[in-house]
């Protein structure tokens, strides 16, 4: 596990790589003369936010850029041989053979009409000249090495039967079939749940040791970097601003941008001892100047009646199959959820995919109709409201969604979008709404002149601010943030979170913060609820739940989160292959009643078999 310094023969030496693309006739340079090296058995992390050029760098190394509209210059030396000078037919022998690549989206990276066995064997057939039978035998061996259960039966299966984590293992198997010298991994775990991510990272590390290969790991997650990288290269807008051994980079970053990046990353465990949620101390990426964040008091108003009271909420979705479309099974998305939320308080719902956190948020707003349970909003029973009542209630509870690109109507000006709720509900006339729009834009940190622009002219973080402005137009009391910051870059994430916390302090907003990112949750929440398979398994004040987790699932979740501090690398765990079970049950399934224990004031845990 020791960091290998670059030897005389680095496996890969990138010198002054410059890549440009032609879009609509104009050439734009994306990668601007970067240089770095990857040594034998070394793992180098290439980090950056979106637009930094990290993926383009990887594609340039692999020679996978579209030939007609791109141009890469400089030198890419693979054990001394310049890849940029190779003709295509020779480059083809490098790909999948000497250098392999795995990609971010396991769900779409495998060919749906070819069997898994064939897709892996193909590399062997083309690069090693193996016959079909030999290739299949070798494929079986490889599948076992990536720890896929019942490998023999998988050979003839098609990709759609596998989950994301399994597919990524198959991708790794495909990449390693010919024992390459270098593996380029382009955000391979970003689309996976955190427990699955931990397993895949372990697998890559293990295979690296076994094969003696080098790894170039592209990511935006500083926690992952700390877990696995020997050295780190930081990219910003196509420039390599800093490179250093990982420990050094984290301990004493030199460049302002690196400092800004590290400051914006929430570290799990950094809130120990603090009672209230805390803003991020934003570092200016140009000057390196750091904000000073005072300890703030909690904004929660616990003396009054809670703004939101949810009791025994159940939401299930029917699955119909068969010729007559009878209900054959149900998805138990939300099973018996109860919690309360005060004004000025943030309650986080954390969990992995399929746990029901999103459905809970939508059920409360009745975007999806719950099956049973009560939802009291400011004392009023939301489920009993008629159409007009629901419309009125919706003024006071709002939602912000995950995808800032899809949350705004592309054909409406942003000013129109923000004004629309006020006009539709008859709260303001057009002229007054116009003024209020300007005020709201200022409130979320945007210029009021932007009101007549269209969404596609804004960046992701700006769009999320616009969505917040639109949600605020009706002066709500409750804001459900459904993975609202998950799709944003690290530094933008921190800024938007700061904005949300400021608004909470000013307006006494209550947040239901739905997220899978525990580190972020640690910073912003007063209380945390952990969800698994539609149920809350643990709920309580943030410090109690995160520092003293009781339920096994909570513990497993906490253990899987990568921590962005060098020197905190976990010991090699035994490799396991868990699948996240799905909350689908037969049509006549009746869930067993759950018991809850209170460990300490407010900290409640679901009873489990030890």
């Amino acid at each position: 596990m020791s960091a290998a310094a670059p030897t005389q023969w680095p496996v890969l030496a990138v010198r002054n790589l410059t890549t440009a693309f032609r879009v609509d006739g104009e050439w734009t340079t994306i990668v601007k003369g970067i240089s770095f090296e990857i040594g034998q058995r070394e793992t180098v992390a290439i980090v950056g936010e979106s637009g930094s050029g990290k993926s383009v760098t990887a594609l340039s190394i692999m020679g996978l850029l579209p030939a007609a509209n791109s141009r890469a210059t400089g030198e890419i030396l693979l054990e001394g041989r310049d890849l940029l000078k190779l003709p295509e037919n020779q480059m083809r022998h490098v790909r999948g053979n000497l250098i392999s690549m795995i990609f971010q989206e396991p769900m779409t990276s495998l060919n749906p009409v070819l069997t898994l066995g064939f897709q892996i064997a193909e590399a062997l057939i083309y690069h090693r000249g193996l016959k079909r039978a030999q290739a299949e035998a070798e494929t079986l061996r490889i599948l076992e090495r990536v720890r896929i259960p019942s490998a023999a039966s998988r050979l003839h299966e098609y990709p759609h039967r596998l989950s994301g984590g399994m597919r990524q293992r198959v991708m790794i198997a495909m990449a390693l079939a010919c024992r390459p010298k270098l593996l380029i991994a382009d955000e391979p775990t970003t689309a996976l749940d955190v427990t699955i991510q931990a397993e895949i990272l372990e697998l890559i590390k293990l295979l690296q040791d076994e094969e003696g290969m080098s790894v170039a790991f592209i990511t935006h997650d500083m926690g992952v970097v700390a877990e696995i990288a020997d050295r780190t290269v930081v990219l910003l807008n196509g420039n390599a601003v800093e490179q250093a051994p990982t420990a050094e980079l984290f301990a004493s970053p030199r460049e302002p941008y690196t400092r800004a990046l590290l400051a914006a990353v929430p570290r799990l465990g950094s809130m120990k001892g603090r009672l209230a949620p805390q803003r991020f101390a934003i570092v200016d990426p140009v000057t390196g100047a750091a904000e000073v964040v005072p300890d703030t008091a909690s904004t929660a108003v616990v003396t009054e009646r809670p703004v939101l009271e949810v009791a025994h909420l159940v939401t299930r979705f029917d699955i119909r199959s068969g010729v007559l479309s009878r209900v054959s099974a149900r998805v138990h998305a939300v099973e018996d959820i109860s919690f309360s939320l005060h004004a000025g308080e943030t309650l986080a719902l954390v969990g992995e995919s399929g746990c029901g956190k999103s459905t809970t948020g939508r059920s409360i707003l009745r975007l999806v109709e719950p099956d049973s349970g009560t939802v009291l909003f400011e004392g009023e029973d939301v489920r009993a409201l008629d159409r007009a009542g629901l419309r009125a209630a919706r003024r006071r509870m709002q939602m912000i969604f995950q995808d800032p690109f899809a949350s705004l109507n592309p054909r409406k000006t942003v000013g129109g979008a923000i004004a629309e709720p006020m006009i539709v509900h008859g709260l303001l006339g057009r002229a007054d709404a116009h003024d209020r729009v300007r005020e709201l834009l200022r409130r979320v940190g945007l210029s009021p002149d932007m009101a007549s622009r269209f969404p596609h002219e804004f960046s992701g973080g700006q769009r999320q601010r616009l969505c917040i402005a639109r949600a605020l137009a009706l002066t709500p009391k409750l804001l459900v943030a459904d993975e609202a910051v998950s799709a944003l870059d690290v530094s933008i994430k921190a800024q938007v979170i700061n904005l949300m916390m400021d608004l909470q302090a000013d307006m006494g907003l209550a947040y239901l913060f739905i997220s899978h990112d525990i580190a972020v949750v640690e910073r912003v929440s007063h209380r945390v609820a952990v969800m698994y398979l539609g149920e809350i398994v643990e709920i309580g004040p943030r410090a109690a739940v995160l520092e003293n987790p009781q339920h096994p699932y909570t513990k497993r979740l906490m253990a899987a989160v990568p921590v962005p501090e060098a020197g905190r690398r976990r010991l090699r765990r035994g490799l396991s292959t868990t699948e996240i079970p799905s909350p689908v049950h037969q049509a006549n399934y009746v869930p067993a009643p759950r018991l809850y224990r209170e460990i300490s004031p407010g900290h409640v845990v679901q009873a489990f078999d030890a």
């Binding site: 790909r95 999948g96 009409v113 070819l114 193909e122 083309y126 098609y158 991708m171 495909m174």
Partner: protein, 312 residues
């Protein structure tokens, strides 16, 4: 797989019923008395009544419907007003001609269209692509009777390579002579259609992640195209070609007229012009059956091409 088949069969039956009912309704909502329209303005009251009775038009509607349905299912589709022969016999006599023309045209269309579409997709935005796109657009802009007339003028009238009236008489050569022009006239239009579909399906597939994975593995480019990409593109191509078949069947009517070729088309036109209602009913039934069968076959082909479908 069985559920899938059962579902499709059920849909086929529903379609059949719906169209039969539609036929029934259409024939009876025609303004004016059908019997009178057949016999003309000069016919006497008795003649009209007699005809009405013969056609069963004097029975209450619900009874007419049941008689009609049962008859259709049993194979008794009535008797043609014009020829006096059973409708079903007339239809079955000419059916093979139409099927033959349709199949050969489709074959030509796919044989020319798929490679052209793949070629255009590979060379996208270069001259070859533009040429293929423009010519395929031109090809499918031809109304079928216009392309038929042009071919007739050039290859049967100006250059007497083919007969003006296409009805074979026994030998292979005669068959070739009678089918070539009509099949080409339909086939070129089909090829244009298939080319476009193939091109857009290939472009869609070539931009998918798994093609990038195949290239990253070092698979040769032509293997990527034909094995990785085209196999996936076949799925939408099969779907669209299946839909196109019903257009092709409609177009064959016009082609059969221009080339004086026996087939359902000629029968249909005759029945339309002479108000031969039993024949029209029968023709609608046969067209429906053909289309339903085509849809089933397309679905089956689709099921073979796409492993994800097998599960259902």
């Amino acid at each position: 797989m069985t559920t899938f088949l059962v579902r499709r069969l059920a849909f086929a039956c529903v379609t059949l019923f719906a169209v039969l009912t539609l036929v029934f309704v259409l024939v009876r909502i025609v303004p004016g008395d059908p019997a009178q329209l057949i016999l003309g303005d000069q016919a006497s009251r008795e003649a009209i009544d007699a005809l009405r009775q013969r056609l069963g038009l004097d029975l209450p509607l619900s009874q007419q419907y049941t008689v009609f349905l049962l008859g259709a299912l049993r194979g008794d589709w009535g008797v043609s007003m014009v020829s006096g022969q059973p409708v079903i016999g007339e239809v079955l006599r000419v059916l093979p001609w139409t099927i033959e023309l349709t199949l050969v045209s489709l074959f030509i269309g796919v044989l020319l269209g798929v490679p052209a579409g793949v070629y255009a997709a590979i060379h996208r935005n270069r001259f070859a692509d533009y040429a293929v796109r423009i010519s395929s657009l031109l090809g499918l802009s031809f109304p079928p009777f216009v392309s038929a007339i042009i071919l007739l003028l050039v290859f049967a009238i100006a250059l007497p390579w083919f007969p003006v009236i296409s009805a074979r008489s026994g030998s292979v050569m005669a068959w070739y002579q009678s089918i070539t022009l009509p099949a080409i006239s339909l086939g070129l239009i089909s090829a244009a259609y298939v080319t476009r579909v193939t091109r857009s399906a290939m472009l869609e597939v070539l931009s998918e992640d798994y093609v990038r994975t195949a290239r990253a593995k070092g698979v040769p480019w032509n293997v990527v195209i034909w094995r990785h990409a085209l196999r996936n593109a076949l799925i939408p191509i099969i779907t669209v070609v299946g839909l196109y078949l019903s257009i092709l069947i409609g177009n064959s009517v016009l082609t059969e007229i221009v080339f004086s070729r026996p087939g359902l088309g000629k029968l249909l036109i005759g029945a339309l012009n002479q108000r031969d209602y039993p024949m029209l009913q029968g023709m609608m039934v046969i067209y429906t059956l053909i289309v339903v069968l085509v849809n089933l076959l397309t679905d089956l082909a689709y099921g073979f091409a796409d492993p994800r479908v097998k599960l259902k």
